[in-house]
Amino acid sequence: MQEDVVSIVAPVSAPVAYGRQNALARWWSRPRNRELLMALLYSSPALIIFFLFTYFPFVRAIWLSLNITNQRGEPAAFNGLGYYLRVLSLDGSGRTDYLQSIGTSFQFTLMVVPTVIIIAVGLAVLAATRVRGIQFFRLIFTSSIAISLASAGVIWSLIYNPSSGATRWVVELLNLGVPGVLNSNLTTIPAVAVMSVWSALGFNFIIALAGLQAIPEDLYESASIDGAGGWHKFRFITLPLLSPTLLFLVIIGTIGALQAFTQFHLLIPDSPNTVFIYETFRAFWYDNRYGLASAMSIIVFIILITLTIIQYRTLDQRVHYQ
């Protein structure tokens, strides 16, 4: 694409023979061609960035994943599909670390997504009441949107730190026999999930509230006239009409939770039980195994693209329904 721009622009500015210039003038006189040139000019800033930082690196990642690299990330020995076989435990080594981390990612996602949606819908129902000063509460419930995962991670790592004693009661309640909730297999991932739920609540709340407020009031009123009870109305009016919103939250939440990195880096950087994004980071950053890490990242890509396609499909369907 970039080269096209050059080859089109160059003849215009260069002194050329008369006949050629004539052809050029003819080319230029066609509006479609002029549009094409302008189109390329206007779109070139974004195109250059896309090619430089998205498409080219993506192809390079695939190439790296097929090689053993040196410490500078240059391919040093071709390795074929060796790394893929290794991380998927198809090489006969019986090493399942990466597969386990994929499992942990989905486990983490299953903990976070339903919890955060249930709490967010609860909060939205509460915040949909039209009492005085409700705007203030809505702002508080939304506030975690503005609090970065890094800030949240720093605060929660102190909450979980045995020296602050804030979660010591959990350790004693569950009789974990370890100093902190991040030291036990039983509570490590749930603890990170609780922090993530807190962090994601603001976003989920505001979307759920928007969904709730879009439900026409008269539906409830006519249901009341028909004698429907509170649960009935929630079950047969609120839930069905909120379901597109819930579906949207499930999709966004799932993809977001699968990409979780910051909270794992801040709360359990050395933990053997971690998510696949973090496992990839370790291979890349701490072990400098760029080939292996690239293979892992391509697998991440395959998982995420599959989910993204499902996402687009479901959203499409939703559009047809409406």
Partner: protein
């Protein structure tokens, strides 16, 4: 999706006293629970330098609120981190708005062979997650010597498939006749974009800008990789490296700094809540 802010809020409905009491009780409980990690951070901040902090300070008479002013003296580097974050977030925001508007203009108004391909390139970028390009991007930026620099933090992010899509959708809602008429009247394409289209698209630009600024300000993974010198850290990475000092973690300073660096985005939330919400909702399309 639905934008709450566009709907006119119905006035408060009078309710019975027990109902109101219960609603307020629940609202207050929920608010306290949600705020409790922040209250915890605030409490630790004012407890002075201790390796053994408590949620409820032991001694409520010696609370050290001056820490919030002193943290800038004790750790002058924090001002630099905040500056870095501002430069990076503003740079990315400006870049995204400009490249998205230009690209979307082409998609919405131009007709030429291969336009579908252009749309495909823009939307296709949404399909490649950040993680899949991270390693080569890091190697590329490092090989250019762009670690510890604004260009390394900004440039990879100044084109956004989401931004292009958002702007294109907005442009398409504006009357096409305006464009055709303007061009017939001899208005240049660029002039139309600059003088007419962009001013008309202020709501979409605001949404894109607030959303981009916030998500860039909160970035963690990429700045962690491409900054290593303390003075090049952004706030998000900066607050976490207090943890690594061998002299022991200074919890009060760390918590105070963490609360301080939240302020810009909290202010942005209060001022730009409406734009943010519509940005987040349309963010649905981002993979």
């Amino acid at each position: 999706m639905i934008d709450t802010a566009d709907r006119r809020e119905r006035p408060p409905v009078p309710h019975s006293l027990p109902y109101n009491t219960m609603v307020y009780a629940l609202l207050i409980i929920a608010a306290i629970v949600l705020m409790s990690p922040l209250l915890f951070a605030l409490s630790i901040s004012v407890q002075g330098p201790t390796m053994d902090p408590r949620f409820i300070p032991r001694d409520l008479t010696t609370l050290d609120f001056a820490i919030f002013a002193r943290v800038f003296e004790d750790e002058p580097i924090i001002s630099r981190w905040i500056l870095n974050s501002f430069v990076v977030a503003s740079g990315v925001t400006l870049g995204v708005v400009v490249t998205s508007a230009l690209f979307a203009y082409v998609l919405a108004y131009f007709s030429f062979p291969g336009k579908a391909l252009l749309l495909f390139v823009a939307l296709g970028s949404l399909m490649v997650p950040f993680e899949a390009t991270l390693i080569p991007n890091y190697l590329l930026v490092a090989s250019w010597g762009w670690t510890n620099s604004y260009q390394g933090l900004i440039l990879p992010f100044i084109a956004s498939g989401f931004g292009i899509f958002l702007m294109r959708q907005y442009f398409l809602t504006l009357p096409r006749e305006l464009y055709d008429a303007a061009l017939v009247d001899g208005c240049s394409r660029f002039r139309y974009l600059w003088m007419i289209l962009l001013p008309l698209s202020r709501p979409a630009i605001a949404t894109l800008a607030v959303y981009t600024f916030l998500s860039t300000w909160n970035q963690f993974y990429w700045p962690l990789l491409v900054t290593s010198a303390t003075e090049w850290r952004t706030t998000q990475v900066g607050i976490t490296i207090f943890r690594n000092f061998e002299g022991g973690v200074v919890y009060n300073t760390q918590m105070a700094a963490t609360l301080i660096v939240m302020l810009p985005t909290l202010v942005l939330l209060v001022l730009g809540q409406r734009q943010l919400v519509s940005g987040l909702t349309s963010g649905a399309l981002k993979g």
